[in-house]
């Protein structure tokens, strides 16, 4: 999902930067507010950031014969709501753009919009929908992480198609072309990411139960009723 440095025409690069900036600023304020009002959240915030840091560093092979990396942004979106991930995700992208020549400064806005805004919101939406339909926490986490991952790559495909419409097929043709590169490859990786999220939250439900109760992920149980 990393559009390489210089690979978006300047108007697109500027447009996506302007589009992503308010989300990132709002996200930074959300992080500061969370830490100030709930200092005990700092540990879990670190876990959410670390989770996306690891997952976005590891490129995995897929059925299509190409390889790609998961995003890991859904976990933090479920825990702290999506604005927090707008900041944490952008920090990850900035690290990769500056040190790894992966993604870039001119494409940071577009990449942040896909990775740190659309992905977390799509994952959070899927989580809320799953919970409203009666799913438990873990199935909700699974769909959230898988969908945050997929939605990010679909967004990247749309961004590239918008900038580089196909000579013959126009925008639609380009969408099909870029989805062909990204989407199918991502399906098994998104499923794997969903399962990794379930593993993470299984640990959190026992070790970080008070936090999950406060964040509204688990119903609060009075201390004396706990087994």
């Amino acid at each position: 999902m990393h559009i390489a440095e210089g690979f978006l025409p300047a108007p697109h690069a500027i447009g996506w930067t302007v589009a992503a900036a308010p989300f990132v600023v709002h996200g930074a304020r959300a992080v500061v507010k969370e830490v100030r009002e709930h200092p005990e959240s700092t540990l879990l915030l670190g876990a959410a950031g670390a989770f996306t840091f690891v997952l976005s560093a590891i490129k995995l092979p897929s059925i299509t014969g190409s390889s790609s990396h998961p995003t890991g942004t859904g976990a933090g979106a479920v825990l702290f709501r999506p604005p927090v991930m707008a900041l944490l995700g952008t920090v990850v992208l900035l690290f990769q753009a500056l040190l790894l020549a992966h993604g870039g400064l001119t494409t940071l806005g577009a990449n942040a919009f896909a990775f740190a805004v659309v992905g977390p919101w799509a994952g959070y939406g899927a989580y809320r929908l799953a919970r409203a339909l009666g799913a438990g926490l873990l199935p909700g986490v699974f769909v959230a992480l898988a969908l945050a991952d997929l939605a990010t790559y679909v967004t990247t495909s749309l961004q590239l198609a918008l900038a580089f419409p196909d000579a013959a097929g126009g925008f639609a043709g380009a969408v099909v072309k870029f989805l062909g590169v990204f989407a199918l490859t991502q399906v098994p990786l998104a499923l794997a990411e969903g399962l990794l999220g379930v593993l993470l939250f299984r640990v959190l439900t026992t070790s970080a139960r008070p936090e999950l109760e406060r964040l509204g992920l688990l119903p609060a149980v009075p201390a004396e009723e706990r087994g």
């Binding site: 999902m1 559009i3 390489a4 440095e5 210089g6 690979f7 025409p9 540990l43 670190g46 876990a47 950031g49 670390a50 989770f51 996306t52 840091f53 690891v54 997952l55 976005s56 560093a57 590891i58 490129k59 995995l60 092979p61 897929s62 059925i63 014969g65 190409s66 390889s67 790609s68 690290f95 753009a97 500056l98 040190l99 790894l100 020549a101 992966h102 001119t106 990247t156 590239l160 580089f164 000579a167 870029f178 590169v181 990204f182 490859t185 991502q186 098994p188 990786l189 499923l191 794997a192 399962l195 990794l196 379930v198 593993l199 299984r202 640990v203 959190l204 026992t206 070790s207 970080a208």
Partner: protein, 101 residues
Amino acid sequence: MTRRRLVTALLVLAVLALVALPLALGGGDAEYAGTDAQAAAAVEESGYTPWFESVFPPSSSEVESGLFALQAAIGGGVLGYVLGRLRGRRATERAREDGRP
């Protein structure tokens, strides 16, 4: 508790299978090129030339993979630290509860 362990093992196996099966089925002839690079190649095919270079391109693929490993190590380290602390905190709470009459 054993059922919980079994579920954990199955989840880990499923993640490994999702990643390892393509490798096994691909028979080794696929190149597993990164999708980001494929997309960049598709863009360049249309005659587009990038107008900005990376500020700090890693000087070789070894350096690049090292930096990716560093990113994963930092993330894994922090994640392990947090989960370890949370687990330790729970163990302490349990011990304190058990200590009470």
